[in-house]
Structures are given as structure tokens and as C-alpha cells.
Symmetry: C2
Subunit: 700 residues, 2 copies
């Protein structure tokens, strides 16, 4: 009997994410109004062909399900109608299914004894049949392996996908002076408010708040619902999910309800495959826990920026979520989904999220993903969309080959509290572009070195990958040289800000300098210099968003300053906890007080109090304290360089494709246990090999 995998639903790669992304990104509301993104949204292909050549050792019945109308061709002959089952005769046969669906991605599920849909099937959205001078039909379309995920039952098609839900209850209820009731769910949460035993006819007003103040501020709370009901002891579940800790509800006369609950909506994960961290400092432990909770709330259909607002996928936020996630849940499915969704389809008409820096982070995120997972198939899948994205970038560079913001580009860098121009040629953007070119080179190299044995028709050839390696190497080398010759200020020992209207803008900020440290564009000596001249220089403006603190603290860790970074973490993240945070915020300024912490964008509750980029200690503690990181893709090889900083002891897990790496350390002793991969412990100038699934104990 031929070997076979289990049947699963298949579709054209990227279609599911693009479609789901449309549902997801169009679900944001602001004070009851829908709030769609302002960038182009694509759609799945509406007609997709799936095919495979199969060998049946005996006549085999296949059961067929499709999302959409479909046809079925056996050995080139169309079969009647849309059969729900079919007997494949003994022998080798070519199976072709075409599925058409305008509303949701065309998907196919075929299950037999040995013939089952899976990623060995090919998919195309354009078979490009043509007929030559001899009347012979040719197909010259581009075929790719079909996409699949976890939809393994005929009755769980991809379009039915949703996160999981469980009921939660408020921990406190109080009558408000204004007449309504205020419900406190104890901590930041996300889901669907549920009113039980609703009785009577009238309108229910529901106001959500990440803070008590927001929920009770009917005029300015960011999200709300108004329900006209006519019920006889029924349960009302609000259709659109919200982020909240507090919910304030007012009812018209004539309508009442007995109880408030919520359906908490979440992306499930496995505790025993997750990262962990514990140490002697309970504040650090609390920071880790709240960071993990923040990440869990923002890990949804995609990695989202914040759960109250924007609830959109943003590439700059996402790359940080990916990195934290590699040290928390290792949810690589969500990484792939988000990368696909952010990229969308061709043609490229704008930077990702309209932001130039976000395009560059997107490139980097693909290679990061490969580093942590060794998933070549995904790199191969996404590479053509990397090519067209990079074409867009390169078409818009100036005569120096540098990326400048054009009139329709958003140059973001960071939200800053000090004057900083974003026009002209920013050094920061060139450093990111340089890394993007390197990413193209690295991905092309991986694909060149790992060719498919039987590449599907229309695949990129090894020659084309090789040409890309050469092209992007040359561009990267050239740009890296220019970084120094153009932006380096030898007097101040720092990268300057930008060329603006032909003049050097000599402002010095941490942004390009810290990325030059992280991305390795400085020698060891230069790095030390930049630490003094910029990173630790009190005259340089400080960073106030957790977003850029992520990179700032990473740069400090890379320079061996784990002790100082711990202090920063205690102050900054500890500061939010002191203010009552149950999840980490979009922005935190220790100098603000009271409701000042809630405001942003000129709105009293504009700030998101559960923002993924607030959770960076998860990443820092895993990578620079437990000290674990892959040195060969997917942890085939890895290093452990543990650093206690000022801690007495620490213990934790880092998830890997093999399982986990457990590290436990105090000032005298370290023990390591790894589920797989070739590990090396590097400590005190010594290197120790880490065997698989056997505890190693080193005493100092």
C-alpha cells in the first residue's frame, strides 16, 4: 500500500490569510463605527486548480468536499457535476479539481484510503492553457505546493476558522453614581460581552474601558455598543469582540438583565511547549508574567498591535511579536499567517502598512523566521513576493541607491517627544534597507542551496536564485559602504540623522546607531565608541516607546550590559505595574501621572493598554539572560550564553522545534536540559557541548 498522509483541506498559499486578514482588519470599530485600514486589501484567487498524479493499487473510492463550486477531471476528462464521491480506477491517474468561490478561498478536501489532499498536491490560479499549431493543448501556468493548516476534518473547512472561547465572569460589580452598573473583569481581557436573562424591550448601552475611567466616560470611551432588544429571558452575546477590563452598562426603562459575563476569545497554546522564566526577583517574575499575558492577548488570528485599537496587523509591531513569540509560545503558524497577510498580493502599490520602515522589517522577519524554524518551504513560498516587494523598493531609490520617502510614503521610525525631521534620506532607513538586501541575499542563498528534487512547473530556477544572490550581495556591499561614508560623523563618533534637501541634518539620535550595533554594521571598537557617544550619552534624547526600547535594550544586552538592562526593566515595566497595569502599554512616560497615562493621539483614552510591543522583556530575558539562541537554522545548532545580570538565580525554558531547552542557573552552578539540536554552552570563556535529553550540570 502506498504511503499517504491524512487528508486535509488545501488551498492556494496565502489565500486563507488574505481572506482572514480582510475579516480581521475590517473588524476594528471606533465608538461604534467600523474602521477599516487605509491600505489596499487584496482578495483570494476566486478560481483555483488543484492537481496530483496518484497511483491506486486497487480501485479506490475518494470522498470529495469543496468550498465553492468545483469540477473534477480524471486523466484530462471532465466528470459529470460535482460528485461527492468517485471511484478512482486502479493504476496511475492525473486528478485535477477546479474550485470557484468568490466569497471565501476556494478549498478542497479529498479523502480516500491512499489518495488524500495534502501539500503534495499542486495549486495554480492560472493554468494558462493554450493550443499550438498542431492542435495540442499546453499549460504553462505557475504551480506551487497547495497550502494546508490544521483543517483535517471534512466538516471543518478553512472558512469556518475562529479562535477559541470560554466564559469568564466579572470579579466585581458596582453601581455607578451615573445610574448604570460598572463591571470589573479583574484584568485586561478580550471577547464578547454577554448579557444573560435579558427581559423586556428597550435599548442597552455598553461602554468598554481598559480603565475604570474610560468605561464610565460615555462621551469619550473608544468602544461602545448600543443594542435595541426585545427579549424574553434570552442571552444576548455582542457580535463584535472588544478589549476591556471594565464594562459600564446602562439600560432603558423596560429592559433588564440578570447577569453580565463575557466569552473570552483566545488563541490556544500548549503550556508544556512554552517558554518560561523565574528568578529570585518577584518584580521581574511579575513583569515576565504580564508580558506573557500581553503577548497571549495580542496573539490572535494574527499578531496584532493592540487589542483595543488598532486591532490591525502592523509589520513593525509584528516583527517584535514574532521574536517574543519565539521565546514564549513558539506559535510559528501565527508568524507565517501574519507574514503572509501583511504582504498580500501583487501588485505592490505602497509600502507595507504604507510605512517604509515596516517594509524593511517585513523582509527581516522572513529570515528571522527561518533562523528559528529552518522552514525552507515557507521561504520558498514567500520568496516571489519578496522579489516583487524588493522591486518596488528599488524602483524608488535615489541616484545613490538609497531609500527616500516619496510623497506617499510614511516614514515612521518612532513616536518621539522631540523635534526630528523625517524628510530626505534617513540613515535609519538605509540601515534597514541594507538589512533587507542582506535578507534577500540570505533567502536566495538558502533556496539556491536547497533545490526541490522535482520543482513544480514555473518554479524559480537555481540559476535565478544564483543571479539574485549576486545581485543582492552587490547592492548590500555597496550600500553598507555608503552608510559609513555618507552618515558617519567622526567628530561625534555617531551616525547622523539624514540628508535633507541636499544638506546633512547632523542631529544624532539613538535610532540608526542602535540598529548599527544590532545589525552588525560597526566594528567592536566602533560599537564601544557608539555606546559612549550615543547610547549612554545623557545629551542624546531618550526613547519613550516600548517599541524602540525593544531595540535599545537589545543593543545594551548585546554590549554585555544585562545588569543595567535589568534596572531599566524594573523601572520602566515595573513603573507600569505600579500604575496598575495588568498588561503592558503602547507607551509609558514615568513623568506622567493619573489619567495622563490613558491619553494618546489627543484622545483621553487613545492609548492602548495592551500592546504587543510592550512585552519585550519576554524576548530579552530568553535571549540575553537565559541566553539561548539558534546558531544554525531551527536550532539544529544553538548557543547558550547565560547571564544573571544582578539576579541571584534564574530558571526557565526556551521553546524550540525539538521541544524545549531548560536552563537553571545560580552563581555557582548551571544545569541545562535540551530536547534536541547540537547545543553549546558558553560561559566564563569555556565551551561545553550539550547532549540531547540529558541534564548537564556545570559548577563553577
Amino acid at each position: 500500500m502506498a504511503k499517504t498522509s491524512k487528508a486535509t483541506w488545501i488551498w492556494f498559499p496565502g489565500d486563507f490569510e488574505i481572506w482572514l486578514g480582510n475579516r480581521f482588519n475590517n473588524r476594528r470599530t471606533e465608538r461604534g463605527a467600523m474602521f477599516p485600514p487605509f491600505w489596499k486589501q487584496d482578495s483570494h484567487w476566486v478560481t483555483v486548480e488543484f492537481s496530483k498524479t496518484v497511483t491506486a493499487e486497487k480501485p479506490e473510492t475518494i470522498n470529495i468536499k469543496a468550498e465553492g463550486d468545483f469540477n473534477f477531471m480524471l486523466d484530462g476528462k471532465l466528470q459529470f457535476g460535482m460528485p461527492s464521491s468517485f471511484v478512482i480506477p486502479k493504476g496511475e491517474h492525473k486528478l485535477n479539481f477546479k474550485v470557484h468561490n468568490q466569497s471565501t478561498p476556494p478549498a478542497l478536501y479529498v479523502a480516500g484510503e491512499t489518495i488524500n489532499t495534502d501539500s503534495t498536491w499542486l495549486a495554480t490560479y492560472e493554468d494558462k492553457i493554450w493550443i499550438d499549431e498542431n492542435g495540442v493543448a499546453h499549460g504553462s501556468g505557475i504551480y506551487v505546493p497547495a497550502a494546508k493548516w490544521k483543517f483535517d476534518c471534512p466538516d471543518t473547512p478553512p472558512s469556518g476558522y475562529s479562535l477559541e472561547r470560554k466564559e469568564i465572569m466579572p470579579v466585581a460589580v458596582e453601581k455607578s453614581a451615573a445610574g448604570g452598573m460598572l463591571y470589573d473583569f479583574g484584568r485586561e481581557t478580550f471577547g464578547y460581552i454577554k448579557l444573560k436573562d435579558v427581559q423586556g424591550k428597550g435599548t442597552l448601552y455598553i461602554y468598554y474601558g481598559e480603565s475604570r475611567e474610560e468605561a464610565q466616560d460615555k462621551e469619550y470611551c473608544e468602544t461602545l455598543d448600543r443594542i435595541d432588544a426585545d427579549c424574553d429571558k434570552e442571552t444576548i452575546i455582542i457580535k463584535n469582540s472588544k478589549a476591556f477590563r471594565f464594562v459600564y452598562i446602562e439600560t432603558e426603562d423596560g429592559i433588564s438583565f440578570k447577569e453580565v459575563a463575557a466569552d473570552f476569545e483566545y488563541s490556544p497554546y500548549k503550556e508544556n511547549k512554552s517558554g518560561s522564566f523565574r528568578c529570585n526577583d518577584e518584580l521581574i517574575n511579575k513583569i515576565w508574567d504580564i508580558g506573557a499575558y500581553t503577548m497571549d492577548l495580542t496573539t490572535r488570528e494574527f499578531f496584532v498591535d493592540g487589542i483595543k485599537r488598532d486591532r490591525w496587523t502592523w509589520s513593525g509591531d509584528a516583527i517584535q511579536s514574532y521574536l517574543m513569540n519565539y521565546y514564549l509560545r513558539f506559535d510559528t503558524d501565527c508568524v507565517r499567517r501574519t507574514i503572509r497577510q501583511l504582504r498580500g498580493k501583487d501588485p505592490v502599490t505602497a509600502h507595507i502598512n504604507t510605512i517604509m520602515d515596516y517594509t524593511f522589517y517585513w523582509f527581516k522577519s522572513v529570515h528571522d523566521y527561518y533562523t528559528y524554524t529552518a522552514d525552507i518551504d515557507f521561504v520558498r513560498e514567500i520568496y516571489p513576493r519578496m522579489q516583487t516587494m524588493m522591486q518596488y523598493v528599488l524602483c524608488r531609490t535615489n541616484s545613490e541607491g538609497m531609500a527616500e520617502g516619496q510623497s506617499d510614503d510614511w516614514i515612521f521610525v518612532d513616536w518621539v517627544n522631540f523635534p526630528m525631521h523625517k524628510r530626505g534620506t534617513l540613515c535609519f532607513e538605509q540601515i534597514l534597507l541594507c538589512k533587507s538586501l542582506e535578507t534577500m541575499k540570505l533567502c536566495a542563498t538558502i533556496l539556491k542551496d536547497n533545490p526541490l528534487q522535482t520543482p513544480p512547473q514555473g518554479s524559480i530556477t537555481v540559476e535565478e536564485y544564483t543571479a539574485d544572490v549576486e545581485k543582492y550581495t552587490a547592492l548590500e556591499v555597496s550600500l553598507q559602504k555608503k552608510l559609513k561614508t555618507t552618515f558617519w560623523d567622526d567628530k561625534h563618533k555617531a551616525f547622523m540623522h539624514a540628508i535633507e534637501d541636499g544638506e546633512m541634518n547632523t542631529q544624532i539620535t539613538k535610532f540608526p546607531n542602535m540598529f548599527a550595533i544590532i545589525y552588525g554594521y560597526l566594528t567592536e571598537e566602533e560599537k564601544q565608541t557608539v555606546m559612549k557617544s550615543v547610547m549612554l550619552n545623557p545629551d542624546i534624547e531618550s526613547i519613550t516607546t516600548p517599541y524602540m526600547r525593544f531595540y535599545e535594550l537589545e543593543a545594551l544586552c548585546l554590549m554585555g550590559m544585562q545588569q543595567q538592562v535589568l534596572k531599566e526593566i524594573r523601572n520602566y515595566w515595573g513603573g507600569m505595574i505600579k500604575e496598575g497595569a495588568t498588561s503592558f502599554w503602547e507607551k509609558y512616560n514615568p513623568e506622567e501621572t493619573g489619567t495622563q497615562h490613558l491619553a494618546m493621539y489627543g484622545r483621553p483614552y487613545g492609548k492602548s493598554l495592551c500592546h504587543a510591543w510592550g512585552a519585550s522583556p519576554i524576548y530579552l530575558l530568553g535571549k540575553y539572560y537565559l541566553g539561548v539562541q539558534p546558531t544554525k537554522a531551527g536550532y539544529e545548532e544553538f548557543e547558550i550564553r547565560p547571564v544573571l545580570g544582578d539576579l541571584e538565580w534564574m530558571e526557565g525554558d526556551v521553546p524550540t522545534p525539538y521541544g524545549k531547552i531548560h536552563v537553571k542557573m545560580d552563581k555557582n552552578r548551571i544545569s541545562i536540559n535540551s530536547d534536541g539540536g547540537k547545543g553549546t554552552l558558553i560561559i566564563g570563556g569555556h565551551r561545553y557541548e550539550i547532549p540531547c535529553r540529558k541534564e548537564v550540570i556545570i559548577e563553577f
Copy 2:
């Protein structure tokens, strides 16, 4: 009170056609199996923003309907929920609506006293909001006038569009020897078979035939239905429309029906705005009538090739339909719909319908449309998609700037009965490319010369149009020169076929030579020479498809051979009528007999017996006998060069944007009546001005 037009549904230009095209092209079936196209199908934009700045002279209530979820922003402020009505305060206000719909095109209907959705509203699928260093929001998207059509009622949204239907009955019924019943609808028709008073439980088998033979051949008829029914005197209407003259029905024991009818489906037209033709020759009149009927059957949501098969939009077929249509129904809506649908969206990944020649016809069809309608707005709308289509073409030209078929291009030219290679650089394709470059030049010139007073943000500038004029003029001039130097054979006085593998393929066919005549790439003297050396040379292989006969006979008419062409029409189209045709065929070979006429593509009933390209006498009789054609766009100026050929008399109408031009002529006298435009009658070396709405009679 501000002037205002009637409220109408609006959407993003092209979206309706792309969406409708998907429904349309995926509706084809072959023996009960769906048969989608093998080219890429795009989708409408799923989120579209509509906006307008309005001035209300007093508070004005608007009623709002949308296809999809929507939000509404008044002066930049989002309003609660999805209001069905709203009071716009007095004064100037900015209205923005965002509509999201995955399944059907986002569309909006706003109706007030003066504030109404129409094409003065702007639409964008990507508003590209970004926030500058001062926190100010910018939008840099590309805005275009919103599209509209005839959906003027709130309850008739675009997604509800369908053609009209009326019941028709068979003209004869007979019991077949095989046991079933054969119904004859008297002539070729199209619609939904309807079984009345169905009683009992069982299966009904319905076999369709354009011929009696096909309907009765259960094994090989091209379309069929199988209905499992359980009815108590109910009417069953078959869901999927079919083409047929004959229907053969078998029923299982236990189920019966009383009567067979059909819902004829058609695109309505106005008789009093249509073309007409009558002459002393009844055969020619019959040919005109059957041609008109063929055109009416193939004029549907789009101009379709044939109604049995493929029921797809094909660009090479469509351009002929457009031209016939300008002389029959002047249904310019259907022309625009088809042009938009064929082009789809970016990125261009293949030639239109995968066929290189079909891309070139598509370009030409835009300029033809302008010539007959003077509709600059449409040229402006489609021009960006012409640019990207031409980019695709030019990216694939060889070092000589010539278009060669690449491995995934279909080079069609024609179905021929003789050996003809389609590899290499075909002269025919270069002639079409040259015309496409000229079309780009002409359209850019029109747009350059007719700038909008207030072009929406992101519009193509006059400078860009001017640059395009220069670019395409240069390319056209260069290629036109090369046509002669490369392909002209001075010995045989003809264009040779192709360069193949670096060698000249010296075959001479009518294809490039007749297009060189029609497109004006020959001097008068050369044309006369080519007539002898190619067009009337019996050694040159003859053309057997009505498709290329269209151009062949046009070339002959252009050379003044109307008398001979009439003979050809009588033989060829008269020949089909003698064979019993009630509509004109995909192909006709007078040397075949009996059921040979039904076969094609190796299938006994593969041939379409109602094929648009079969109706070309409609075009020829209007343009080269009545002799009417516009000489300035949209009949602002036109010529009448009537030619009787061998007719005694003729009389007919040619539709124009102004109404009609009526021509009546015999050997002694001509009378003309025109509804508008500056007309010139050219006859016997004389020129006569034609006044508007006043009969002119010239006697010889």
C-alpha cells in the same frame, strides 16, 4: 438650490465588471461539469472609500444604503454605526464613506434633496493615510471618479443585476424512438428550461442540442442536466442557462411533467435606436436578420463568443462584436463592460485570454470605442490599465522591439486548415503590435488634449500623457519602418510570415497582408499590388473562419470590391442558411456535408452554431454599403460613402450617439436623414453636406 443629478449606486470603476465576469465566466458547463476559464480571474476591491465635498443650503436629510458594511465620516469625524439616514448640516461638508464587502463589489447609494451619489463622487481602494513629524494626517491615495450605471433605485443594487427573461414555448414536440420527447424551439435560443406541473419522484434527464442530432445524442451532446426531483405539481426551472434549439428529455418511471417551456434570457435593446438594413435581395436581408439575431444572442452581460460554448469573453471575438454592435444596437454599455472585464486588474501575468493577438485587439478596441462614442471619460478611466498592459508587452519584446511568443503565450492568428507555424516573430503580430502602439499614442494624445479642470488626487498629469505620446510615437514609427525592412518580400510583393529560429519563414498568408491594408501600413500602390499578389491570388490558402473572413471582406470592401464581397456573403452566409442555420456558426466549410457541419475540436457537436464572429455582414453592410462611419469621434463628424455593389436598392439605419443616420438609395437617387453630427455624403466624386434632422435627397 444647487444643481444635482439623480441618486444612483456607485462603486469603484471596473469592480462591477470583474465581479460579474467571474460569475459569468465560471458559469460555462460541459456535459454537466463546470468549466472555468484557464486564465487568472481577479476580484473587486473589498474595501472602497467614496467621498465628496458637498454644500447644503439648508440642513438636508440623506438616506444611505450600502452593499457591505460601511462607516460614515462627516468632516473627518466618524459617525456611530451604519446609519440609514443622517442630517447633513447647512454649509460645506466633506462626506466620506468606507464600504467593505468581500462577496460583491462595495457599493453606495446616498439620496437627499441635493446630495446624491453619482460619478462626481470620488472613489479609492487605498487612501494611504500617513502621519507626518508634526502629527498631521496625510492621505496620498489615488482617487478616481466613482463608477455608476443604471442602478438608480435604492432597491436595485449592482449585485442584483441580471438580464431580462421572457417565457418561450417549443414550436414542435415529437416522441423519440429512444423513448424520450424531443422539443423544438424553432430556432437557436438561450435560457432556462422550465418543466411545468412536475409530479412524482425520480430523475429527469435533459439533453440540449443546437441541432436535432446533438439533443438526441445522450453520449456526446455538449450540455445536459440531470435533476433528481420529488414534486407535487411544481414547476422546475433549470438553474444554469443553456443554448439550444432542441431539447430532448427522458424521465424515470414515477415522475412526469405536463409541459416544457423556457425562460428566454436576453439583453434588452431599443428598436428605434438600432441599426437596420433592407435591400432588394431577400437572401441578403435574411443574412442581415440572422446576423442581428446572432448578435442579440451573444450580447449578454458581456459580448460572448458563442452561447453554447465557451460562453466566455474572448478579446479577439469581442472586438468584432463591438464593431458589429456599432452598426446594430449601439450598446456602448456592453462594450465598456467587456473591455473592463477582459482587462481585469494588475498585475498583468499573461496576455488577455493568454493570447498575444488578443492583447493587441484589446488596445485597438479602446480607440475604436472612442471613435464611435467620443467617451473621453472611459479612455481616462482605462488608460492606467492600458499602460500596465503595454508595459507587459514591451517587457517581452526581443532586441528588435518585436513581440515573439514566449513559452507561455498563445499565438492564435486563426484556426487554419493548412500548415502554418506560429513560432518566432510573426509579421502578423508585429502589425497588431504596431497598431497597439499607435492606440497608446492616440489615447495619450486625447487625454493630454482634454485635461480635467480639477483632476482628482493621484491623476496622471498632462506631462505624463505628453511623455507617453512621445514614447509611443517613437516606438510606433520605429516598428512600422521595420515591418517593411524585415518582412516585405519584393519579389512576391507580400509580407512574409515570420522569422523563425533566425531564418525567414517565407510562407505568404492573407493574415498580415490584409491587416496591412486595413491598418494603413501600405501605400495605395502597394495595396493594389497586394490585392493581386495575395488577396485575390488563388495560390494563397483561403480563410475558412468567419472570424478572419471579417477582416478579409473588410479589406476587399476598403479596396472597393463591394460587388464581389456581396457574392461572397451570399455564398458563405447563404450557404449556412441553406444548411438550416438560424444563427451563424463558429466555422463553415462549404465542402462539408450533413453532421460534418456540427463537429469541431474532435467532438461531434463541438462547433458552436451561434457564434458572434459569424455575424460580420452586419458590420460590412453598415460600414461599406450604407457606407456610414465617424470621421471625428462620436460622429461629431461623419462620412457616408454609399455603395450598392450589385444591389438594386438598399435602405437602412446606422445608430449614433445622436440617434440614427438613415440612408436610402437606389441607382438614381439617395436620401439621407441624420439625427445629428456634421455629415458629409461622398458619392460619384461629389461631396454634400448633410444637415441635421432634415432629409437630403440627391438624384443622379
